[in-house]
């Protein structure tokens, strides 16, 4: 069984935020504006999280690109009263936007705070409307949304492979953030396949998961700095 996962190499990541922009346009996330940002309501499915360790002068800042971590033991799916958020067979935490009632229980249950809520109707500048992605639905006000690892690309890739009469290959399904990463800090693939690049990296000594002690078992795994490969 395929189990999709992602590895983010913090040694390679330059925090350029290309992934943030790519995700924004791939998934029809309305562009943030000053007002929403100040209210803490701008929506990003992936953001670059700064963490600070120690105090000056023994001080270190780390930057984590943070999408939904697609936990294997997700706290969010259990609490949804209408099954609007669910874990698919292949481990992707999906979100049915048209079913969500906006109770925001999943957002309060998620310890990583990666779920976003549409406080208001999303607004696009007129000139950006024609370039929206037709594969992704536009969310109305009042529903929760989140990173889906670009599942629409999975569907597309699967269909493409079927039409061409062959098995799916790793190049058929790559999320937008992984595709654009200029330093190739993000690697995507099947965690259950022992030969895949991700599963090799996951076994590396540098691999760690965010807040592992919570038992949520995220499938987005980081490689800590100092690898120097």
């Amino acid at each position: 069984m395929t189990r999709w996962g992602m590895v983010i190499d913090l040694d390679k990541c330059s925090a350029c935020q290309a992934c943030v922009v790519a995700c924004q346009s791939e998934n029809n996330v309305a562009p943030p504006n000053q007002e929403l940002h100040e209210q803490g309501r701008s929506i990003h499915w992936i953001r670059v999280l700064p963490t600070f360790e120690g105090t000056f002068p023994h001080f270190r800042m780390r930057l984590f690109p943070l999408p939904c971590l697609h936990c294997d033991n997700p706290p969010c799916t259990k609490v949804c009263p209408v099954s609007a958020t669910y874990k698919s067979e292949e481990g992707i935490i999906g979100q049915i936007f048209s079913r969500c009632i906006g109770c925001r229980y999943c957002t309060t249950a998620c310890p990583y705070t990666v779920r976003e809520f549409n406080w208001k109707k999303p607004v696009w500048p007129e000139e950006m409307k024609p370039i929206r992605n037709r594969d992704v639905s536009i969310r109305p006000k009042g529903v929760v949304e989140k990173c889906t690892l670009c599942t629409h690309r999975l569907q597309k890739g699967r269909e493409k492979a079927r039409v061409e009469g062959r098995e799916m290959i790793p190049e058929d399904y790559i999320p937008a953030c992984v595709e654009v990463c200029p330093s190739q800090a993000m690697i995507f693939g099947d965690l259950d396949d022992p030969e895949s690049e991700v599963s090799k990296l996951v076994r590396s000594r540098r691999a760690f998961r965010l807040m592992e002690d919570l038992g949520t078992e995220p499938k987005v795994i980081y490689l800590s700095e100092g690898g120097g490969d």
Binding site: R41, P81, R99, C100, R104, F117, V143, M211
Partner: protein, 442 residues
Amino acid sequence: MKVSEQDQILLKPVEQTTKRFWITAAILFSIWFIGFLAYLRQFHSGLGVTGLSRPTYWGIYITNFVFFIGISHAGTLISAILRISQAEWRRAITRSAEVITVMVLLFGVGNILIDLGRPDRMLNVIKHPHFTSPLLWDVTSITCYLTASSIYLYLPLIPDIARLRDRGVKWQRFYRILALGWQETPKQKRILERLISIMAVVVIPIAVSVHTVVSYVFSMTIQPMWHSAIFGPYFVVGAIFSGIAALMIAMAIIRKVYRLEEYLKEIHFNYLGILLLVMSLLWFYFTFSEYLTVFYGNEPLEMEIFRSKMSGPYAFYFWMMVGCCFVIPFVILANRKTRTVRGTVIASIAVTIGMWLERFTIVVPSLVNPRLPYVRGIYHPTLVEFAITAGCFAAFILLYMIFTKIFPIVSIWEIEEGRESSLQEVHERVKGYLPGMGGKSE
């Protein structure tokens, strides 16, 4: 069925409506209307009109929800427990408590619906239920509770509705239908008594389950200071506590407005005051255990929230809650001289405010300080939220007032029954407890 001369005063509110009633009703209606307009605005433009934002996804609507569901425990626990334990002094106060339960539950549920981002999809809870969600347990148990407590309110009303029917007051048809052909035959009485005692027993575990499940909404998550096993009993105790307080405020107003000093006597306030004092001590015990264990364990994430309540941005609410829920009621109620009607009402008002603050200091600070350090946001409710909250409170009081205009707020038949038979019965019963008195032993 005739209502005796001395009980005529209980029917007066139903038969006569004063100018003062209309003025109060008009004021309450206007407040409700403002709240309604505020809700329309929120419905139209989304929850963006509230002060909520990432990471504070829940605010005063959820606080109100927990608070209202808590108040609803007035009826069940006071009325059902006192009925089961055959406390004779209950007779004059059961109905006013049961009405609180039914009405306030509507506002508890209402606040959840107000809080939904897509209230138009609320039926998805029935169409696509997901049984691992504590919110669904909530829906189930609150629905049960609303049904059971409505029946429990209605059953003891039947003989009084029949009295109103026989007097030929306005809305004859309405009372005739609701009276279900009650003629006070011994058989009817026997069935009714039986049904009431069954419902009294049924309603208690449901009430306990309701507030336990409400607390599970928080404690099933792994958020710091929510993930706590004490939450179930803590919430139930808090609910009974605020329920008694709300009941005493309602009783004091009814007593004053409808001149029912003969029915709602000092002794009622004294007894309920003692109950409130006990609940206040229990509340203190639970709060103390909850916060001491967090403090002693000294987990960094929990301590951050702990400090925000003790000395940080939420300290004002926290200490005001302690003052309102413990210091004020304890000082007033522990002293027999101040445990008067006025004293108990002051204590009750303090408790009601304090319990609202308790819900607030549970819901908000945990959300403001999530585990990941990068998002923080102080939550300030907006005018829309205040208007909707005020509207809910006004609508509750208005509905309660209207109830007193349609049905007698003190159970007439139970008072009559008390006069006729219970004096004798209590005499016999007490004799039965004592050795060597020759009373019948059971």
